[in-house]
């Protein structure tokens, strides 16, 4: 008798940010677009760089490199248009956000292992690809607003937002 292990593969988009690669679950991605003109106007949301126009919609461009890499990256090759849920599970309200990426993106199938207790909230898990372990990003947590941040991080959890700004 053979025991078949069921492996659930998920479709993932691999993206490059500086020297590092990250993965995002493909269902959270609307499209990948070439950089277009970014419009800026006064605001007080430090993680939002400006907005772009895409298919008649005005899409905010969210800076994530500082949170992930500890530094801003001015070079960008594409905008990954991701679907961001603002309403939680009870009342989902989805909007597009544009995430600047610096290299080619790749669509792969991989098995996700869940996050560890010490992971930052924006790490949804990890995948193994080409001999590398790649972090899977949770777009909603990555682009969280102050009101979305948990008041007290889980025990052992690293709050990179606080660390990056302290």
């Amino acid at each position: 008798m053979t025991v078949a292990t069921e492996i659930e593969l998920q479709s993932m988009v691999l993206l490059r940010l500086g020297e590092r690669r990250y993965a995002v679950v493909a269902t959270e991605i609307a499209e990948l677009v070439a950089p277009s003109r970014m419009f800026k106007f006064p605001h007080r949301s430090p993680k939002v760089e400006g907005v772009i126009l895409r298919r008649g919609r005005i899409v905010p461009v969210c800076e994530v490199a500082e949170r992930l890499l500890g530094k801003k990256i001015s070079a960008r090759r594409f905008y990954l248009i991701a679907v961001r849920n603002y309403g939680g599970h009870k009342a989902p309200h989805k909007e597009w956000v544009a995430i600047p990426v610096t290299g080619e993106c790749e669509l792969i199938n991989a098995e996700i292992t869940g996050p560890s207790a010490s992971d930052a909230p924006h790490i949804a898990g990890r995948i193994s690809h080409d001999g590398n372990v790649i972090e899977v990003l949770d777009i909603s947590a990555l682009t969280a607003r102050p009101e979305d941040e948990p008041a007290f991080p889980a025990a052992g959890a690293t709050n990179t937002f606080v660390e990056a700004n302290s």
Binding site: F41, H43, K47, V51, I58, W96
Partner: protein, 176 residues
């Protein structure tokens, strides 16, 4: 993953707007919310300076009949580089007048998109939303967003104190 398609209204309703500049940035305001546009020079006799108002962006008071209007410096309000304002918008049904650099043009918008939720700061009070005009995105200001109720109360309180101080000086002068 695709979002639900945008709901289409049977007929696009247009709204007249004024495009104006403050500190080099472009904004829009509904023309229905602007009662009057005056040049700074023409208001010289009707305005008074308010010192230490406690509301940094308000430095002048404009007397319109029985009402006092607070002149909000647009550059300070939006945190932009200071520029010498040349025009004042007197806003309808408001205690606010807005000092601006100049008017770009009058036009109309057919679609106002709510400010994306990624914007979470004071701008949620500043803007009614965003509109795309000629392949440019312009924030549409909320006329009620220039001064909070608390700021208006503080300014009113300051005025009351000023008036009573002046009255007491006048009455003591009359007694002497």
């Amino acid at each position: 993953m695709r979002l639900a398609p945008k709901a289409k209204s049977p007929a696009a309703k247009s709204e007249q707007i004024i495009l104006f500049r403050v500190g080099g940035a472009l904004f829009a305001v509904s023309s229905a919310s602007v009662q009057e546009v005056r040049s700074v020079d023409s208001l010289a006799g009707a305005s008074a300076e308010i010192k230490d108002s406690g509301v940094l962006k308000v430095r002048h008071l404009l007397q319109r009949g029985e009402q006092n209007l607070f002149v909000v410096n647009g550059t300070i309000h939006f945190g932009l580089p200071l520029t010498p304002g040349t025009l004042v918008f007197i806003l309808r049904q408001s205690r606010t007048a807005l000092l601006i650099d100049g008017i770009e043009k009058m036009t109309s918008m057919t679609h106002l998109q709510a400010l994306p939720l990624a914007f979470h700061g004071e701008e949620r009070q500043w803007y009614r939303g965003l509109t795309a005009l000629d392949q440019t995105v312009v924030p549409v200001v909320d006329p009620q967003g220039f001064l909070s109720e608390d700021e208006v109360a503080r300014l009113d309180n300051l005025l009351t104190q000023k008036v009573s101080a002046e009255a007491s000086v006048a009455s003591s002068g009359a007694l002497q």
